[in-house]
Every structure is written in C-alpha cells, then in structure tokens.
Symmetry: C2
Subunit: 420 residues, 2 copies
DNA sequence: TTAGTTTGTTGGATCAACAGACAAAGTCGG
DNA sequence: CCGACTTTGTCTGTTGATCCAACAAACTAA
C-alpha cells in the first residue's frame, strides 16, 4: 500500500507524487509481462486492475524506452477483435555480472528476458596471485563483457560483481575473503578506477547472495506456484548460504548474513579454516567428501585440476556403484541435512536449493538429505520445504549479478531510455 | 519506488491510482510523526519532501480521522512565526493483543502512541485444561479488553492473538503447540465464533514473532539509530525465536519460521521434548538452568509456583554470590552464545534481544553470551551485533499483538474514521 | 450480410500534488 | 514602539496521471 524506496531497509514508504505514481505503474506493467508472459493490453488491464486507456499509455512509454515491443496477434481468445501481444524487448537493455572465485574469474551478460547474451569463465589461481593482479585481469574480463553488450547495441543497466567473502552492505567494501586469502579491500572502488570511473552503476555483493537471487529468478520462470522464500547452499571448499525471504534478499544489518559454514554441529574432527573443530564445513565441504571417498594420492584430490573434471570423476564412480564413494556421499548428504534442518527450522523456506558441487552430486545427496530434514524439522511435513538442484551450476553467481542489475530496471523503468 | 501491497509477499508493487497515492502519503505523514515525534506542518513538508500545501491537506484529513491532533505551539525555532505542533492522537484508536501460554492467559490494549491502555494477565494451567475450556476463558478475557477499549470511546483497529506454537501463515491455523499439548486447531476461527463473529480484523500469530515485533517497536522509540534487523529469543521451558529482517517480520514460506529450540549443538544429554538429545533447549531452557543450579527438592523447581517468583529466587541467590547458581548461569550464558552465534552468522542482526526468562537473568547471562558470540561469529566485531535485554518482560507478545494491529492503521490510515 | 464480441484509442472528467502569492504571527534591532 | 525580517500555514490556479464512456476497428458466428 505504500511506496517503498528499496534502498533504505525498513522504510516502508516515501512521499509520492504524480511522477512516482507513473513510475510505479510502469514497473507494474513491465513486471506483469515478465512474470506472466506476453499478452494483450486489454488483458494486462484486466489482470492488473488498471484502466485500459492507462495501460495503453504505459505500454506506449515502455515501448518508446525499448523495454517492451509489440509482437504477433493474439489468437488465443476465440471471439472478437484479436489483441496485439506485448512482450519484453530483449534487444534493448542488458545487465552484467562478474565473479571472482578461488580458481576462476567469470562474467555473464543477460538481456531483459533473462537470456544469456554472453558468458565467459577463465581458470585463474586467485589464491596464489597478488590481489592487484587479479583485479587487473578481472577488470579486463568485465570490460570485455561491457563492450560486448555495447557493440551489440544494448544499453547497460549495471554491473554487479560477486566475491566469496564478507561484503559490507552499503559500501560494497570487502571485509574478509579467507578462501581468496584477501583481507579488507574496497573491491568496488578498485574496479571502478580500473574500468575508468564508469557512469553505469557498479556494485559488489556476496557470491552466495547473488547465487540465491539467480535461483530465485530461475524458479520464477520454471515453477507454477510463486516461490518467495528460499535458501541456497553453495558447496565448494567452504559452504556459503544465500537467503531470499519474502521475495527479498536477506542481507542483515551490515550485509554479513548467510555465514552458515561454521555452525558447530559436527563431532570434533578435522580442524576448520576458522581454527575450531566441529564446523559444518568440515563434514560437508568438498575436502570432507574427498577425504572420505578417496585416498591421499587419488588424482581427483589434485587441486590443480579443474573442479568440474574432478567432480566428473566422482560422478563416474558413483554411477558405477563404487561402495566407498557411495558411502561417503550418503554421509555428506546426511550431514547436509542435519545442518540444513537448522536453516529450515529458522527460515522455513519453500525451497532449499543445492548449488556448487552439491548440485553436481545432488542425485546421491538428495535422498539422505531429505530424510534428515524430515526427521529434524519441527514443522509438519518438513515445513513444506522441497529440495532442488540448481540448474545454473557454477554460473549461478554471475547470472545473479546480471539479474540484480536488471532488477533495478524492473523496479524503475524510467532509468532506461529517453524521457517522453 | 513501487506500491507494495503488504499482504502478498514478494509482490513489490500493485497498480496504483489517485486513491493509492493519497493513502500512501497519509501513511507517510502519520509514520513520520510517529517515528520522529511531534512537529509542525512546515517541518513535515521539509523532511518528507512533500509540498507544504499537501501536508496541510493530509494533516487535516488525519485529524478528521482522529489519528493526529494539533498540540501546543512550537517554540524551538527562534525566528519567524511559530508553528503548531502536530502529534499522534492517542484517544482515537486502539489495538488489542492476546496471548495463550503454558501457565497464563493475557491481554493488552495499546493506543496509537504505543501507550498501554489496559493490560491483564491471569494464571491458568492451560496444559492441564481442555482446549475448548481454555478458549472460552480466553475469549472472555479478550472481550473484556475489547469492551474496555470501546467504553473508553476508542475505535478498535484489530485484535491479534499469540500462541506458543506453529501457526500457518495465511489461515492463522494452529498446527502444533507441544507445550500446550494442543494439536491442529483453527484458533482464529474458534475465537471468532466465541467473540460473536466480530467485524474487526482478528489474527493469530506465533508468540515469538509477536514478541520480536514488540521489541522492534520498542527499539524504534528508544534507540537513536534505526534498527531494522533483530533476533528475539524467548526463554521459557522451550526456546522460541522471532526474526525481524529489513524491517519486516520474517515468517517463511508457510509461517513456520523461528524454530530455534532444536538446533543440535549440545553434547548428548537430557532427552528433549522432541525425542532427540543435544537440542539447544536442553542446555538453555529454564529446566536446564534449574537442574544445574538447584537440587531436586528445591522450591524454585516447583512448577506450581509463579514463574516470576521462582526467577526472583534465582536472582536473589545470584546477587548473594552463591557459587553454584553463578556457575549454572555462566554455563547457560555460554550455551546461549553458542546457539546465538549460529543465528547471528545466518541473519546478521543489529541486535539480539533477550526475552522471557533470559531477560530476567540477563545481567548474569550477558557476559558469557557476548564472549561466545565474539569468538564464534565470522564477521568482524560480531557482525556489529549488540545484545540487549527486553524491557517488556512477559508482556512482550501481547504488546506485539496490539502493535501489529495498530501497524495496519499506519500502513493504511483510511481504514479508520470517516471518509472526507 | 448482419449481429455480437473484443480491442485499443480518444476526449473529457476527476483528483491529488505542486507552485507561488499572501496574510498571520512571531523575533530582532534601532 | 516601529519597521525589517523570518517562518508558518492557507488559498488559488496549474499540472499531470488515472479513470470513464463512447467509438471505430477487427474478427467470429449464424
């Protein structure tokens, strides 16, 4: 009922005038077409409650801004004059996402429809590189995507960069990225200067947060019923968590939410990177799986090889029914469920999304995981929570970054194109 | 930037017309006065960005509806014509909250300013009573509060009832309340029929959720900097959790969020009510403290005595420096911190609020709790999270219930009073 | 061919915010 | 005490976005 700013959390409404009203309704129409697909003006009016004449005017402006376009005639309704379908115009605007991770750099560009315009991932041993050198190479990669969008004739909605670490909410300052071996560093500022102080918005966010957002956008397209509450778990050496609650990314007071890897749920065992024992990571992280499933000199343990290849090795053994591999996977799945049940009890998500290596090995993890959750979640029927594998693989964070840049356009379409 | 409905989660905007615009700005002005205190029309205009003339018109309507009133002259500004202060009118509207708990029934009525109009708590051994009988007595109590508000000349904004159990989001159906010994039961429907199918909105919610909301409203008044992310822990026989994230109550997909009592963090020991061992409740619940601090025949263990009196006994011993009591409190405080750190790592709240018995014994719990959190939260400086005791005691949930009813008025002031 | 249905546009009405002018009510300096 | 100055709150007219009702256009069905 109230105009929300979106930038100031908790502020449920800001003063509004005719311009805000128009902006709001432009956003409503644009998101309506995104979420429910192409449809005629008359149908949009009917479904949103706006007047037919108003919808015509709004659509005209959105077309002028290059966000919508008229498509073919609507032949679905039997009687009367057929309407002209109005649909998202993918050619106009793109969002770009980037990611720095332990062993690769990546970028992705999505158009307004969510389709992948370009995507690139280069293996880089970030942990053993100077941060400045990494940022140089990362800036080159991001610039490549930006120019790629521009030569294609698209307008750039914004760039959002993912980092596997603690990112302070407002400033986008990186506080700590243990897996990269990075300390406090203003990634946003460093990248802005390397990209020549660009005019488009550039933000930095936590990798799991953006992956969760990508999963949210993905579920919006694939699921019948709307999903507004989800938890995403990214499995790597560490374990990251991203939470979408009530359709909004949960960031916490300072942006440090989603640190799930160090829940003390396991019996004392291997020492965690944080210095303690018993952390969840130590029983569900990739290292834990490899230690259980393989011997010391096994090639799949070789950190210099590509992660996806090593995982393919595990998959092959599991498919062949190798006992030790299957037992290790069942073990990890159960521990995943024990920690997952904590999250489900606290957050009651509709969906628990497995990302990173959990997604790859999902077929073997899912059953013991779901069993553990059913047993340990207090709410009836596991609180109605389903477990799904992410379809996005290791591209989740970059896609989420591109998506969050595009989201700004859906919230305020007047950011793009010329005024009337 | 978009008009939010508030009822549909995730829907970031609904179609808006002139009426919505007006409603939005009425809400903005009303909340502005609530949050920042009495001030002149000119100042409201300056601070909200609305036009002076518009603010005059909005204030006039809000006065007509009995939500605002003109107060004394503003003598704070030195120069020029002094303004007339505009302030919340407490006499017009009230919200009512009720609570069913293990050993008492309670109601509270708050006026628009948040001041307590009436409050009542009666000891009832709910667990050993037929649900129907309990609901009969509860309905009498709620009706008493409702008529209390009405004879005072106030309009009733709504009634919200707290239950210590799992409440399904939309329907307000109680799924499970183990501490009451209640199973599935539509409390909302039962109460509506007992209250004669009232016209005012009546809702049912989880007790910890409402307590968290009360703490949120309380911090809004007492803190200088706005707090939009908090976690509230209610200590009783069990442990409940309520989460406010980004200024919104976190409910989860089906309303089952906040089940923190059964996190498996403790070593195997006493069997929990849920049938497992190692649950957080078993080391921080009231029973755990009593077992550590006292012998079997100690009178403070007697469940037939009032909880507050028994806690007063513990407080006395702690103040006297009794070693066993102090040691038990330190133990509970540390365990509270171990589980609390999980919540802080996941949710990154600005404030961790201690409610229920944790608030009463807070002075002894706080130090070991904060130490454990500092040690175990990954984000620097504990993620900026402070630990505070709730000032509301066992009235938190009823106050929160009344508050959430009033919140509807702040979101849509046109619900109250006559149209222009 | 005609009646009926649906689409999308047009012109006028309505409503709320805005802008600027102005009287009212105070302070300050002489 | 008086005039210059400042600030408040109201009033009048303008702007702009949505709504409403009428209508031409386009198609189906009989």
């Amino acid at each position: 009922m109230t105009l929300t700013d979106g930038r100031r959390p908790g502020s449920r409404g800001v003063a509004a005038d005719h311009v805000s009203l128009r902006r709001n309704n432009l956003s409503v129409v644009l998101r309506h077409v995104r979420d429910l697909g192409p449809r005629s003006r008359a149908r949009i009016a009917e479904e949103t409650g706006l007047n037919k004449a108003t919808v015509s005017s709004l659509v005209a402006e959105l077309v002028e801004r290059g966000l919508l376009r008229e498509g073919s005639a609507d032949s679905s309704r039997a009687l009367g004059r057929p309407g002209l379908l109005v649909e998202l115009d993918g050619t106009g605007v793109c969002g770009v996402g980037g990611e720095i991770n332990v062993d690769y750099l990546a970028v992705s560009a999505l158009d307004l429809t969510g389709a992948v315009v370009l995507e690139k991932r280069v293996p880089v041993d970030v942990a053993h590189l100077d941060p400045a050198t990494t940022l140089d190479r990362f800036a080159d990669l991001v610039q490549e995507a930006v120019t790629g969008v521009e030569v294609r004739g698209g307008q750039l909605a914004g760039v959002t960069l993912a980092v596997p670490g603690l990112v302070q909410g407002e400033t986008g300052k990186l506080k700590l990225a243990p897996n990269l071996g990075w300390g406090e560093l203003s990634v946003a500022q460093e990248m802005r200067s390397r990209l020549g102080e660009p005019t488009y918005p550039l933000h930095v966010d936590n990798e799991a947060n953006l992956a969760a957002l990508a999963a949210y956008a993905d579920l919006r397209q694939t699921e019948d019923e709307p999903v507004h509450d989800l938890v995403l778990l990214t499995g790597a050496v560490g374990v990251g968590g991203g939470v979408v609650a009530g359709g909004q990314l949960l960031r916490g007071g300072h942006g440090y939410s989603g640190e799930v890897g160090h829940m003390p749920v396991a019996p004392p065992g291997r020492t965690c990177g944080c210095g303690r024992t018993g952390c969840w990571e130590t029983v569900v992280g990739l290292t834990a799986l490899l230690h259980k499933a393989t011997d010391r000199d096994d090639p799949v343990r070789d950190p210099s090889l590509d992660v996806e290849q090593r995982l393919a090795g595990i998959t092959r053994r599991a498919e062949a029914g190798e006992a030790r591999t299957l037992s290790a996977l069942k073990d990890v799945g159960t521990w995943l469920g024990i920690g997952g049940a904590i999250l489900v009890n606290i957050l009651n998500p509709d969906v628990l999304v497995l990302g990173g290596y959990f997604a790859v090995l999902g077929p073997w993890l899912k059953e013991p995981l779901e069993k553990a959750i059913r047993e340990r979640v207090i709410a009836p029927d596991g609180g109605g929570c389903r477990v799904v594998r992410s379809e996005l693989g290791f591209a989740a964070a970059v896609r989420g970054g591109a998506q969050i840049s595009l989201d700004q356009v859906f919230v305020d379409p007047t950011r793009i194109g010329v005024a009337r």
